[in-house]
Subunit: 269 residues, 2 copies
DNA sequence: CATCAATGGTCTGACATTAGCCCAATAACA
DNA sequence: TGTTATTGGGCTAATGTCAGACCATTGATG
């Protein structure tokens, strides 16, 4: 049925290595990338100039421009010509409502969601573990320890508008501090796969406080050089979100707790 | 200097998301994939028919044939026409010698090697952790427990010719049993990045016994549902190989133990 | 020995992607 | 108010990649 099934009873390793070489054409992949960068809020208010961006993405300017045009027509960008012009981000994360979350989860297949959550759990736990082991070996310099503390302080001091972005920065910071680009990329990729879902979860003060305590625990374990505790802290932290999202999988139609309100009371219908 | 550097002092997240969309053209990526599949020994003695293989890799038959021709000219494949024909693997892992290992490590940059080792450590520890957590939750069925035990038994019973292949199968099996294709792919990718290096390490009886004990510990921890112990066991196991390989990094020129021989006796001068 | 099914070998027309070049618009700045 | 550097907009020729059809070869099988 699906492309990935391969022959019945065939080695999973074979289907893993003989999987498609490219996810799609250059245009599609570029749109996806830019959309991720925009939604994660890591490109600032303006994209880099086309020539520079094309070089970075390893594609031609023509292909990049097609992607930008698609995003412009979809309302994510506002393109202005001339000096000091550029592609300006006009996207703001939607005011989250439960109905949005239900829809976001539904848009993603059941298998795809559990896959993404499992993947994220594994790579983020692994990254924290590695970083703690580095600290344990006394190879985590004061500079890097400082950056970790700084990121933690930033997310703790974040206002509602900046929370998602700084939370992302904190999580990815752990992977980046390991010094492994491959690992950093994997963690970024894992995060990107659940960005839409996270954006659809309302930011509640209670959740923020809960997350803050967990973030503290992660940093403490890493700096203390305790790999097990670090991985465990990350796992606990991620499990909360994962459980929430998985809850929407068991309810293909509207969750019972929302049926009365969400039908007409949700901000976005 | 390098493509990946980005602007000085720029957010690492930016350079991560704005990295090249494709690693190379379709031909190059296909050659790389096939080569990996061959070196890992997971394609058996013959590649699937061109039409099927092209469909799996998501490329055209023309591009696939170019890749096969390149591998044929490089001596990895023997292509025969007619029914019962096909592309037959004519590759055998080289008899490992210390000089091969030194060269293999040197071919890979210092940074690239530590990157690959760190990445592998993180994703494999993460996978074992997730799988153990699944077992802890009582969600690891008897079928999957049985497969894990079976893989372990297979690698323990392996002869020298099959050892690498079955060792790979065991390691990847852990990731596959989590049920997350993304995670399985990440682990396979991590393994692939060090395949050449592993192939260059002599298979010593002493190492095999050591590895066997560690494999046992991993399986025991996973089946016992102890995530910390599982991750720790994997970390210990991988650290041995990593330390060995890293040892060759500290010696940019030829290792002392080889200087007399390698100076004029090396096959390639 | 003839048949035949499976497989690699080849060709064509269409579309995707690229590099490179020049044009057009714009806002800071003198 | 004109200049100018920077940026997006658009073009062309060359190359990469594709789907699909058809040909050539081979070895098992009857």
């Amino acid at each position: 049925m699906s492309i990935a099934e391969g022959k019945l009873g065939e080695s999973p390793r074979l289907t893993t290595v003989l999987r498609p070489v490219r996810a799609g054409n250059a245009f599609e992949e570029t749109v996806e990338r830019l959309l991720q960068a925009i939604k994660l809020g890591i490109v600032g208010e303006k994209l880099p100039p086309e020539r520079e961006l094309a070089a970075r993405l390893g594609i031609s300017r023509v292909t990049l421009r097609e992607a930008i045009r698609a995003l412009q027509e979809a309302g994510y960008l506002d393109v202005r010509r001339g000096r000091y012009g550029g592609a300006f981000v006009t996207y703001a994360p939607p005011e989250p409502g439960s109905e949005d979350l239900r829809r976001a989860v539904a848009d993603m297949g059941t298998g795809e969601l559990t896959d993404a959550l499992t993947f994220r759990m594994a790579v983020e736990c692994g990254a924290a573990r590695v970083l703690a082991a580095t600290a344990l070996a006394g190879e985590l310099g004061e500079e890097r320890r400082g950056e970790l503390r700084r990121r933690l302080a930033e997310v703790n001091a974040a206002g509602p508008d900046d929370y998602r972005r700084l939370d992302t920065a904190f999580h990815l910071c752990i992977a980046e501090l390991t010094g492994s680009p491959l690992l950093a990329t994997a963690c970024a990729d894992a995060r990107l796969r659940v960005t839409d879902l996270l954006n659809a979860i309302p930011i509640l003060q209670r959740n923020i406080e809960h997350a803050a305590a967990q973030h503290e625990a992660i940093v403490a374990a890493v700096l203390a050089g305790d790999p097990d505790a670090a991985a465990r802290a990350v796992a606990e932290h991620l499990e909360g979100t994962a459980a929430l999202l998985r809850g929407f999988l068991a309810q293909p139609s509207r969750p019972a707790v929302l049926t009365t309100e969400a039908g007409h009371g949700a901000p976005r219908g």
